[in-house]
């Protein structure tokens, strides 16, 4: 049995059913993200775990204890909010020690624990400051320390990075994950940003319309999406139409060229199926003469080049539609010019067959 156990959770606000039968088991020390568009119910699930909402149906258990109907202040759960929510009238140290003081921990012990926590978040000398004297990133780290100080059983993170600047967002991701690993605390992280979910989590729950569409490791979710929604919501996707030649053998043709997929296809011979390609599995050959026989290669024309720094995103027009592909920047080779005639190469095993 999992450490944190959500069983058949449902939640309705009036006639609006926001969460529809949601199940999830989180192992002790695991970092699980709830990922989905706004309105998918991810925040409501988190708030039910925190106790701010009561499930219409279902049960929440932590370490075997049923907490479904406990009040938020009886659950021993740490929570970090998007809006930091530091108490503006208290210093950083008082904020971090707030939960301990309420729990009746002695002053000396509180001081020691607060010092530990401030060291953990890398702000050891900020204890005497007030929240308004800190940057957004520092405030959010203090909020994390405050949530962790009373040694909660579960840590809940409600889009904690959304209010921050891009650069700080990225660096804080790694920091939060490091701290979570160090303390081994069971964590649920809610986000609408797929990069955050993929980069931080042990497992990702992709949610849509109040349900979990897929639960899995980031690599799994990204490379083997189970539904069309997951494939399209997570990452960029190119789609191509293919005609099935041999369903059992995984043989199809794209624009008349044969392509062999590694697995059988659940469609009839002659049917059209959708193939999806991630931008990083498509390779660009500037010299079309280089393509050896037997390779699958689509002729294409460069339509747009976006130099993003490390990655160059190229859009190429083919007879099968526009295809985006990602190249790494190479200092000795500038990106191809607009309008250049090239060939796009990809392998059957890199293709996702859309259901």
């Amino acid at each position: 049995m999992a450490y944190l156990d959500l069983t058949a959770l449902q939640k309705s606000f009036g006639a609006n059913q926001v969460v529809k039968s949601f199940d999830l088991g989180v192992a002790k020390g695991e970092f699980v993200s709830l990922l989905g568009p706004s309105g998918c119910g991810k925040t409501t699930v988190l708030r039910m775990v925190a106790g701010f909402e009561t499930p219409t149906v279902g049960a929440i258990k932590i370490d075997g204890q049923d907490v479904t109907h406990l009040r938020p202040n009886q659950r021993n759960i740490g929570m970090v909010f998007q809006a930091y929510a530091l108490f503006p009238n208290l210093t950083v140290a008082q904020n971090v020690g707030f939960g301990l003081k309420i729990a009746g921990v002695s002053a000396a012990e509180t001081a020691a624990r607060v010092a530990d926590m401030l060291a953990l978040i890398g702000l050891p000398d900020m204890g005497a400051r007030y929240p308004f004297q800190l940057s957004g990133g520092q405030q959010q780290r203090v909020a994390l320390a405050r949530a962790l100080a009373p040694r909660p059983r579960v840590l809940l993170l409600d889009e904690p990075l959304s209010a921050l600047d891009a650069k700080i967002r990225v660096s804080l991701r790694a920091e939060i994950r490091d701290i979570q690993r160090k303390l081994g605390i069971t964590t649920i992280f809610v986000t609408h940003d797929q990069e955050e979910a993929l980069s931080m989590s042990d497992r990702v729950v992709v949610m849509n319309g109040g349900r979990a569409e897929q639960v899995g490791a980031p690599f799994e979710i990204y490379n083997h999406p189970k539904t069309r929604f997951v494939a399209q919501f997570v990452g960029t996707l190119n789609t191509l139409d293919a005609i099935v030649i041999d369903p059992a053998g995984g043989e199809v043709t794209v624009q008349g060229q044969p392509l062999r997929l590694p697995q059988p296809i659940a469609a009839l011979r002659g049917a059209t199926v959708g193939l999806a390609l991630r931008p990083e599995v498509v390779h660009l050959e500037a010299d079309t003469a280089q393509i050896s026989r037997g390779d699958f290669a689509l002729p294409a024309r460069i339509a747009a080049v976006q130099f993003l720094g490390a990655v160059i995103r190229v859009k190429a027009e083919t007879a099968a539609g526009e295809i985006s592909l990602d190249l790494f920047n190479r200092p000795d080779a500038p990106p191809p010019p607009l309008g250049a005639e090239v060939a796009l190469r990809f392998r059957g095993q890199d293709v996702i067959v859309l259901a």
Partner: protein
């Protein structure tokens, strides 16, 4: 040029406000012929009627503040947290005392609670005092409400409450340790405003025939020469002190100063 014009406009504004006060101050010092003295002030301070009415008004002001705070703070907190749809209604209700003339309110009270009514409050001095305090509370409501509402708007009430709850705090702890410290300044500024308004109020006290400071001011204005000026200066000094206290209270709360 535009800069000079706008500064001139501000100067005109200052003169518009302060010239009457300066004129009054100067006059109040001229009781003794040919030289400036504090005679008028001495005369006022020695007047037992001044002492009685001023004391009465200060007491009424304090009672009004306590009454107002006890009614307004919990109501606004609860409406903001749990019944946000009621906020426009609250705004409307609290705007009413500004637009309904005090005369109408006090006539209503007299009509409703006269000696032949079901609750003859105006029959006794204490009952009338209570009625007067209720009237003052109504008069002060718009300011108290707006001060507290602005104070609560400045903090993220819901999230702070939830953060405190998730750290183990119950409702009482939330109110005492998180909400109150953060709206104290707002409550204080509402209180000072209430104090200033009650001290100078005339219509309610006069029509309910209570020995308050406002009617005494008017009576002195009609019957004495230099004392009214001294009284006006003193009242102004008092209200000015209230203003300063409001400003100080705002400055004092260093944690609410945002860097922006």
């Amino acid at each position: 040029m535009k800069r000079i014009l706008s500064w001139a406009a501000i100067a005109v504004g200052v003169v518009y406000f302060f010239l009457p006060l300066v004129g009054m101050l100067e006059f109040s010092l001229k009781m003794r012929r040919g030289e400036y003295s504090l005679d008028a002030y001495r005369s006022v301070m020695g007047d037992p009627q001044f002492q009685a009415t001023f004391g009465y008004s200060v007491l009424m002001a304090c009672l009004t503040i306590v009454f107002g705070v006890l009614v307004v703070v919990p109501t606004v907190f609860w409406v903001r947290l749990k019944l946000p749809r009621l906020r426009p209604f609250m705004e409307f209700i609290t705007l009413l005392p500004l637009v309904i003339p005090p005369i109408v309110i006090v006539f209503g009270y007299i009509r409703l609670f006269n000696t032949s009514s079901w609750l003859p409050l105006t029959g006794s001095a204490l009952g009338t005092d209570f009625l007067l305090m209720c009237g003052y509370a109504v008069l002060a409501l718009p300011y108290m409400y707006r001060a507290v509402d602005t104070g609560l708007a400045a903090i993220d009430l819901r999230t702070l409450t939830e953060a405190a709850q998730s750290l183990g705090a119950g409702w009482i702890t939330v109110l005492a340790r998180v909400i109150l410290p953060n709206v104290l300044v707002a409550v204080l500024s509402g209180a000072f405003l209430t104090f200033a308004i009650v001290i100078g109020e005339y219509v309610f006290a006069a029509l309910l025939d209570r020995p308050a400071f406002g009617p005494y001011l008017v009576w002195a204005g009609g019957n004495k020469a230099y004392e009214p000026a001294a009284l006006a200066v003193m009242t102004f000094a008092l209200t000015w002190a209230c203003m300063m206290l409001i400003q100080l209270a705002t400055k004092f709360s260093k944690h609410t100063r945002m860097p922006h």
